[in-house]
Amino acid sequence: MTGCLRAVVSGVRWTLATALAVLVPATAFAQQPSARRVEVGGNLRWLTGMTFKDVNATEGAFGGATRTVFRSSTTLDPAGCAEGRVAFGLLSALDLEGAIAFGRTHLTTRLTGDSEAPDAEVREPVTEYLLEGGVSAHLARWRKGRAVPFVSAGVGYMRQLHDGHTLVEGGQTWYAGGGLRYQKNEAGHGLRTAGVRLELRATILTGGLALDGSTHLLPAVIAGVFFHP
């Protein structure tokens, strides 16, 4: 009996929500997203890469002095990643979002200053998977027409495959960012709305994800499209 009652109440709520969605003007919807909506999208994420601290190959000399055999400078090269994203409206201006990204890059070490061996640049391929979850807040107060700024923050998990599957490293990440959404009224093809999204994001990597084991900031640019099915 109780179960039936709950089902009825739930049905009423959905009916009201649908009615509201139909009745409100389209522009208002764009500027003030409703809760309970679902948003899916595809992005291109450009990871700008990391530069690690220079490390020299040294040997001890008399009295505790050191002699440098050669110098090394290592970078994780920039990478373009394909990304899928899904978001759920928690409140009218707050989304719960998740994303999964995949990209390939290289770890590159430059070797210089060796008195016996010529300078060299050596590399290894790195494949990265990134799983993220967080919130995104729409800043409707600063909207410009159909363009609405937003900010985002969350946590993630990155998995790096070095040289194929020779070594797998994983670790937690944190991110914070912000950007602009531009939403069309009618998407067509059975989609209610669609739009484009541009975000600048800073991701913090820790532990084994960084060659030197220290914390690094990894800036990223994310651009893509989204739909409300």
Binding site: F52, V55, N56, A57, T58, E59, G60, A61, F62, G63, G64, T66, R67, V69, F70, S72, T74, L107, T109, L111, D114, E116, A117, P118, A120, V122, R123, E124, H162, D163, T166, L167, E169, L211, D212, G213
Partner: protein, 336 residues
């Protein structure tokens, strides 16, 4: 000594005397190997702690107690390597001297003025049938002046530093070639060393060699692995060739660009095969070079065909060391 170059004796040569001239470096690390009972055996202690004695005599103003305290510091340094299981225990003072075949591992001074380039030396007594290590003695040459001062003394050789090197031999390690020397007026002078097991001491008064380097830690841990050392580290293996033929005696160094650690080995077969174990998982730079200044005798028997006529180079890729495994064989072609 007035700044003259002084060799520590090559442990391989010391072993050769015991084993009637037969030595065979074990594959993977320059550790001591021998043939006993028709099979190849890695020279190492099978029972620990290794009990050692100190000769009870005062030499050059250094009392037996002060000498024992300095060498105990060196034993403690090796024993403190967290990834190695070997332990040592001081068993007392003795009237025996190093070199006595009495079943007692003994450290002490001997006056050997004829060995004017040997600061100290380690010799072993091995069972020819089982290959068991019965005794290892270290003598310090009292023809030189020595110091046990905490801060070292100008013009005097530091007992603790030299003991640290010799205890590496006593434990089964051979020499490391991570270092640089140069020939000045026909004599070899050391410029720098990247391992305690480098065969030439930096100089009298120097105490900077009281600490182990990465190559030493990897070596002792490879011989006496503790805990999850083998599962937590990995190795690089491969082959060095020149004109399509294997290169024997090439010095191969694995450099960790994250930490700066250098761990090395040699190609130890005529086909040019090498293996470097005890590496931190992750990318490594591999550098190949001929033995420094043709200093062959500190590492190999003079009959070995060590190739010195090729140019140093970096391998063209970063080599990724897996956790608990091997990189897979890499091929490094060097040029004459």
């Amino acid at each position: 000594m007035s700044g003259g170059p002084v060799h520590r004796v090559a442990g391989l040569l010391a072993i050769a005397a015991v084993l009637f001239g037969h030595t065979q470096p074990a594959f993977a690390y320059l550790k001591f190997g021998l043939e006993a009972g028709g099979r190849e055996v890695t020279l190492k202690w099978t029972t620990t702690p290794v009990r050692y004695f100190v000769t009870d005599q005062t030499v050059g103003g250094i009392s037996a107690a002060d000498f024992q305290a300095a060498t105990a510091q060196a034993f403690a340094t090796w024993q403190s390597v967290p990834s190695a299981s070997i332990t040592y225990r001081f068993a007392g003072f003795t009237s025996s001297t190093p070199g006595d075949d009495d079943g007692r591992t003994t450290l002490g001074f001997l006056n050997e003025p004829a060995l004017d380039r040997v600061l100290a030396s380690t010799s072993f007594l091995v069972d020819n049938v089982t290959g068991a290590l019965l005794e290892a003695d270290i003598f310090f040459n009292s023809a030189f002046t020595w110091s046990v001062s905490k801060d070292g003394e100008p013009g005097k050789w530091d007992v603790q530093s030299i003991a640290l090197h010799e205890i590496g031999h006593l434990s089964g390690l051979g020499h490391s070639a991570i270092g640089e020397t140069q020939i000045v007026n026909g004599s070899r002078r050391v410029l720098s060393a990247g391992a305690v097991m480098f065969p030439i001491a930096l100089g009298p008064g120097d105490i900077s060699s009281r600490q182990l380097d990465a190559d030493d830690v990897a070596g002792i841990s490879d011989l006496y692995p503790d805990g999850d050392f083998n599962a937590a580290t990995g190795s690089v293996s491969g082959q060095v060739t020149k004109n399509g033929q294997g290169v024997f005696g090439a010095h191969v160094v694995a450099f960790d660009p994250g930490t700066g650690e250098q761990i090395a080995n040699f190609t130890l077969t005529r086909s040019g095969l090498f293996s470097i174990a005890g590496l931190r998982p992750g990318p490594h730079v591999i550098r190949v070079e001929p033995l420094d200044d043709a200093d062959i005798e500190s590492f190999f028997d003079s009959a070995e065909p060590v190739d010195l006529s090729f140019r140093a180079k970096f391998y063209e890729r970063l080599v990724v060391v897996p956790r608990g495994g091997d990189s897979g064989s890499i091929q490094i072609a060097v040029s004459p």
